[in-house]
Symmetry: C2
Subunit: 343 residues, 2 copies
């Protein structure tokens, strides 16, 4: 059996309470005694048993992250920020991977009830009022990233503002017939980004006719919706093909609701023998890794930073459970590359 606090106590000729004080930097211990204990600890190669500490302290030292994992880079960057920041604290991260949204609630229950962790971060997932309520009542802080709920702390990007800026960029380049390609129309980011697009158009006196907007669900192919709420390459490609077919309005620019959508659209454009940005200007949203390699102009979301902030914030909540709900919104920034050009 591994060495326990009792072994240390015996060797140091003190009580286990004293050993505990020594390892926990308690002020209630005489420096000399502490030295003796520390020496015994080193001699025996003792390390406290994390689980046992957890039970006694009623805290686990674990943070849970529940992530949908289909879109690589976005979550990878988030994770990098999270891990980096977490390493400053003595905290471990348990990762829950959601591939079908239905399993999300299992994890919420798991984290909530089984007390495996001290707090949870969710990403890009709607939280029902029911769970929002449950978490508020419990002592497990919850922080929502990339979505919102008015009763819960969240961090997200200003989708509408970003979409507005993207569309504006196209307009300033001289484009007038600007189409938008989107994931599932009913998803939160879709709705918000659509609003930004619409507002930019209207403010410039441009009208958004229905045939200028194609969302994943309008494609009459349920399969396309499966992956990531319709924010996937296939949707981008199909939507663009349709735009290409029925374009009688002289569309010259596309605002894609995400980079991956934009990339699908680019593929369709090139396969049609057209070129970018000569025939079509196109702008994405997210700034995933691929975007820079494919020289896609896009709205950058500060993913790494969001990951850092999420951790900092939840650590704050660990300190002060009663800290009032805080909703943080960050602005995306335009990254101009080669897929947009003056008309």
């Amino acid at each position: 059996m591994a060495v326990t606090i009792y072994d240390v106590a015996r060797v140091a000729k003190v009580g286990i309470g004293t050993v505990s004080r020594a390892i926990n930097n308690s002020p209630q211990i005489r420096p000399e005694t502490k030295k003796i204990v520390l020496h015994a600890i080193k001699e025996l190669g003792y390390t406290p048993h994390a689980i046992a500490q957890g039970l006694a302290r009623k805290k686990t030292g674990i943070l849970a992250a529940i992530m949908p994992f289909y879109t690589g880079h976005f979550y990878h960057e988030l994770l990098r920020g999270i891990m980096k920041t977490l390493s400053k604290y003595e905290y471990d991260l348990i990762l829950y991977y959601v591939d079908r949204l239905e399993v999300k609630n299992n994890f919420l229950n798991r984290t909530l009830q089984e007390r495996r962790c001290d707090g949870v971060l969710t990403f890009s997932m709607e939280i029902s009022d029911e769970y929002a309520e449950k978490f508020s009542k419990s002592k497990v802080p919850l922080l929502i990233v990339d979505r919102a709920h008015d009763k819960i702390d969240c961090i997200q990007v200003k989708n509408e503002e970003g979409a507005f800026a993207a569309t504006k960029h196209l307009i300033e380049l001289g484009h007038k017939n600007i189409a938008m390609i989107s994931g599932h129309k009913e998803s939160a980011p879709s709705r918000e980004r659509y609003r930004g697009y619409e507002r930019a158009m209207q403010e410039s006196g441009l009208t958004v006719t229905p045939d200028l907007f194609i969302s994943a669900d309008a494609l009459d192919n349920p399969d396309l919706l499966q992956q990531n709420d319709g924010f996937n390459e296939h949707v981008g490609e199909s939507a663009m093909k349709r735009l290409l077919q029925m374009d009688r309005k002289g569309i010259t620019a596309i605002f894609a609701g995400s980079d991956i959508l934009a990339i699908g659209a680019m593929k369709a454009i090139r396969e049609a023998g057209l070129s970018i940005p000569k025939d079509y200007s196109i702008i994405g949203f997210d700034d995933i890794e691929l975007a820079s390699y494919l020289s896609l102009t896009t709205m950058q979301q500060p993913m790494y930073e969001i990951g850092c902030m999420a951790v900092e914030r939840i650590m704050e909540k660990f300190e002060d459970k009663e800290s009032p709900v805080r909703q943080v919104q960050l602005s995306p920034t335009l990254v101009e590359r080669q897929t947009t050009a003056p008309l």
Copy 2:
């Protein structure tokens, strides 16, 4: 306070042992009694406390993964496989993120000593004999992915074989002057891939002269080595530039030790106004996500599958601690795309 096993016992009018048997599917309980207990559990909304169970059972239900995290897609795919497989078991994953190799040992100690997890997976990291020894002696199974150690279980790809196949492919296309670009020469994958390259050349009666091989450390720029052992885009670009400069041998093809190296090299080639595969054929290794978007011919490593296998294997070790060391080697497969062409 949350509801405990005692509350359930009281309500069900049984002892806590019986409650425990009910939740743990023990055969030693009468079906009717079990029904009563289960009913009380539902009524009270009881869920066992994972930490307390862990302490009593001497197992945590947690698997630790220690990963270097700089190269997105590779680890993302691995993680997908791991998470997918793990979800079949009642296991959670703690992720440790290594950005500097020096911190690796901290995590090894942490997992080894603090008993936060039942087993650990390491990725792309050399394990010293010292730690190999420590783990073998301990009851914490360790599984090494993407590296090898003869005393420890590991899963990796046949680097030499893959490099051989890659080089052979180039040779079959008619190329004779084939250069290789590599990460740090001393790293295990570099050495193994170099051997495959060399063997393919020799078997075809081609000679490998020193100026045909450029590794990250030969670039006289320590900064380039920092990231991922020299397997990064900058090294690919710099190495290719050098090749372009001093090429008096009529090199027509490049075998890059990794996709990201290949991508850097492609950039250098294009910036020199040359084209691929017209002027240079180039093949990578890994098949990261970018490779398909950039149409890079490469050797594919089955990352997702490796992740699955790693979990399956470590679960086996949980069952049978004495299971003898097993070393698994998988073959990479050639994925032909647009960057290689007949001479």
